[in-house]
């Protein structure tokens, strides 16, 4: 698997070249959110707002009222936790085109509970007028900027930084509202988002080898959650549905799927993998995914439960399909 570095940093600079209305705002995390290159390329369109997110969000709304399109960059927690009222009253109510790039989703940071955005999807999708995206690989990071710009009103996107894999071909860009079907099957439907998709792809091979037919759908638009591909996915499996998300299962992807199923009258078993109404703490990604049941083994256990039979999948089975090179070269993430 191809691993790329600082995809957003380079991509944003080339993409923004002929877009004078796009301005970038930073809350003292310029290098940490990959916008130092933008600052260098277009200093007149870069605004340092200091460690003051509430002012930054309302200030951005004011600029948006005058025709600019602010791209807010900071850690996700400092957007939706620090400035939710500003997002609601200054930005979202007026449906202003303020685009929020939230970094360090879920357990992708060793920074612990203050830095891990675990309930952002739940919070942001509850805000009227808000569109909620999530990136999972280099291709999505490279191709999400046009959809963000073309989406009217505010957009919140869970962003990845540093070293990211390329899961999807370069010529299959991010399409807003359109999930990707990664495999078709009839026993279990697997719906995943963000970094969980990469993890799930490891487990699906082991599950298929045990004779299970897996229908795997990757979601990158949390709201609106209306694609017919999703309804088809929850309707078709014989045994049930498993969701897997990098955050709390309360209000996130699992809830999105549950709402869709209930409103469509789909009466099937649903297993939601994610943080089970708990905070996490600081640690490496492999440690955290194992400790909090966000890894391929957790997915295998959920599949066993739906199948009602032991599949005897072991760590060794999963290790066989695990691509260790993905993370072995990654440096320990600093803040």
């Amino acid at each position: 698997m191809e691993i790329l570095t600082k995809v957003h940093a380079q991509n944003l600079v080339s993409w923004a070249k002929n877009k004078p209305r796009v301005v970038v705002m930073s809350a003292d995390l310029t290098g940490s959110t990959e916008i130092a290159e933008f600052q260098q390329a277009y200093p007149e369109r870069f605004f340092s707002m200091g460690i003051a997110e509430q002012n930054m969000l309302s200030f951005a709304a004011g600029m948006a009222r005058e025709g600019f399109i602010p791209f807010i960059h900071t850690f996700a927690v400092f957007i939706y936790r620090q400035a939710l009222n500003q997002i609601v009253s200054s930005v979202a109510y007026s449906n202003l085109p303020v685009k929020m790039f939230g970094f360090l989703p879920g357990i992708t940071t060793p920074g612990g509970a203050t830095h891990q955005a675990i309930e952002d999807v739940a919070v942001m999708r509850a805000v009227p007028n808000m569109t909620v995206f999530e990136t999972s690989d280099a291709t999505e990071i490279e191709t999400i900027l046009d959809p963000i710009l073309e989406t009217p009103g505010p957009v919140y996107v869970r962003m990845l930084r540093g070293e990211v894999p390329r899961l999807f071909p370069k010529d299959e860009p991010f399409r807003p509202g359109v999930p990707r079907v990664l495999s078709t099957g009839s026993d279990i439907t697997l719906i995943t988002a963000g970094i969980c998709t990469e993890e799930a792809m490891r487990a699906t091979r082991a599950l298929t080898a045990r004779g299970l037919s897996i229908h795997h759908v990757h979601v990158s638009t949390h709201k609106p959650f209306t694609s017919p591909i999703l309804l088809d996915a929850v309707t078709r499996p014989r045994l049930g549905i498993i969701t897997m998300e990098n955050g709390t299962i309360v209000g996130g992807l699992g809830s999105e799927v549950a709402e869709l199923m209930a409103e469509s009258g789909v009466g099937k078993k649903l297993r939601r993998i994610g943080l089970r109404d708990t905070f996490a703490h600081g640690g490496s990604r492999p440690y955290l995914t194992k400790k909090y049941g966000l890894d391929a083994m957790a997915l295998a256990r959920a599949a066993e439960e739906l199948a009602g039979a032991a599949l005897n999948i072991t760590e060794a089975d999963l290790a066989g399909v695990r691509i260790e090179a993905v993370h072995s070269q990654a440096k320990a993430e600093a803040l």
């Binding site: 605004f47 707002m49 200091g50 003051a52 509430q54 002012n55 969000l57 309302s58 200030f59 951005a60 709304a61 004011g62 600029m63 948006a64 009222r65 005058e66 025709g67 600019f68 009222n85 500003q86 009253s89 200054s90 109510y93 007026s94 449906n95 009227p128 007028n129 009217p152 009103g153």
Partner: protein, 315 residues
């Protein structure tokens, strides 16, 4: 509280004082009719708003209907006809000023000011707090004279700062005016904004502050003091001027100061019972007047008849 010396009253101040009196009279009338209202805010802010509308600000003529239209629905997909109450301030032209009132509970006072400034019909006030109307009790973006959601407090100044920076980037000459209440200096966001205004040298933005020393729980000194407000603002990089908030010439004078790179804060010292001395009996709770008995309401009604109804009465 330092007060500037009484300035010589210029001819235009006569019109401003008449309008200020009209604001108080309309709000008083409304408060009696509806058994409640933000009456004290009219006492404080009447001269400030009258001066801004009639003298200080360069706004275009209103392009909104004199009688406010019905609630247009909230902004969002499928509501393309949506407009804000900013139309009452005219076209958003490059050389025109913008005006944003932050404490949205001053709405009744703002509506009265729009009437006195000839931007809204007196009949429009009959829609106040009526279902389906834009003339809401807490002004929203669609309410006459509003164009932002300020109800949470402290957010309007940040937004206006963003507007000011955007207008500078576009090369526009018009100024940006904000009306702020002193209680908003208890919000951290206000200080974040002053820091940003000073950092980006947004000296085309001017803030008029109603320093009435009052808030919902009572006197600001007893709730959470914001003094010395001028020194606090200056230490954050702002330019603070203290004026008598009931003297039109004093209120207008700082707007003529040559911009020096600092955002301007005109701290208008005001009397929360100005023009309606009856209110003094309700101290220290002046935030919202709701009559406690029919008898109290009758006292106000009689006072109104004797002092205000005929349109006479001056400070």
């Amino acid at each position: 509280m330092g007060r500037t010396p009484q300035t010589v009253s210029p001819p235009w101040a006569v019109d401003v004082r008449r309008a200020a009196w009209g604001i108080r009279r309309r709000v008083m009338e409304h408060t009696i009719a509806n058994n409640g209202g933000y009456l004290s805010q009219a006492c404080c802010a009447a001269e400030i708003l009258a001066t801004l509308y009639l003298k200080t600000m360069r706004l275009g003529p209103s392009i909104a209907p004199m009688i406010p239209p019905a609630f247009p629905g909230v902004p969002g997909p499928g509501n393309s006809d949506y407009v804000t109450g900013g139309l009452y301030h005219g076209e958003a032209a490059p050389d025109r000023d913008r005006f944003y009132l932050s404490p949205a509970h001053y709405a009744l006072v703002l509506y009265a000011a729009l009437i006195e400034a000839g931007r809204m019909a007196p009949e429009g006030l009959a829609q106040f707090n009526q279902d389906g109307s834009t003339v809401e009790m807490i002004g929203a973006e669609h309410s006459p004279g509003f164009s932002m959601m300020g109800g949470a407090l402290a957010q309007t100044l940040s937004q206006a700062a963003g507007v000011a920076l955007a207008r500078r980037l576009k090369g526009e000459r018009g100024r940006v005016w904000v009306f702020l209440s002193d209680g908003e200096f208890q919000e951290g966001q206000t200080w974040e904004t002053i820091a940003a205004l000073a950092f980006y040298k947004l000296d085309r933005l001017g803030v008029y502050v109603d320093v009435n020393g009052q808030q919902c729980d009572g006197e600001t000194e007893d709730v959470m003091t914001t003094e010395p407000l001028d020194k606090r603002i200056e230490s954050f990089g702002g330019r603070a001027v203290i004026v008598d908030g009931h003297d039109p010439a004093a209120i207008n004078a700082p707007a003529d100061l040559h911009p020096d790179g600092r955002p301007l804060f005109v701290l208008c010292r005001t009397d929360p019972c100005r023009g309606i001395p009856l209110l003094n009996e309700r101290r220290p709770r002046l935030h919202y007047v709701r009559f406690t008995s029919p008898a109290e309401r009758e006292v106000y009604r009689v006072w109104y008849q004797e002092h205000m109804a005929a349109g006479r009465g001056e400070d």
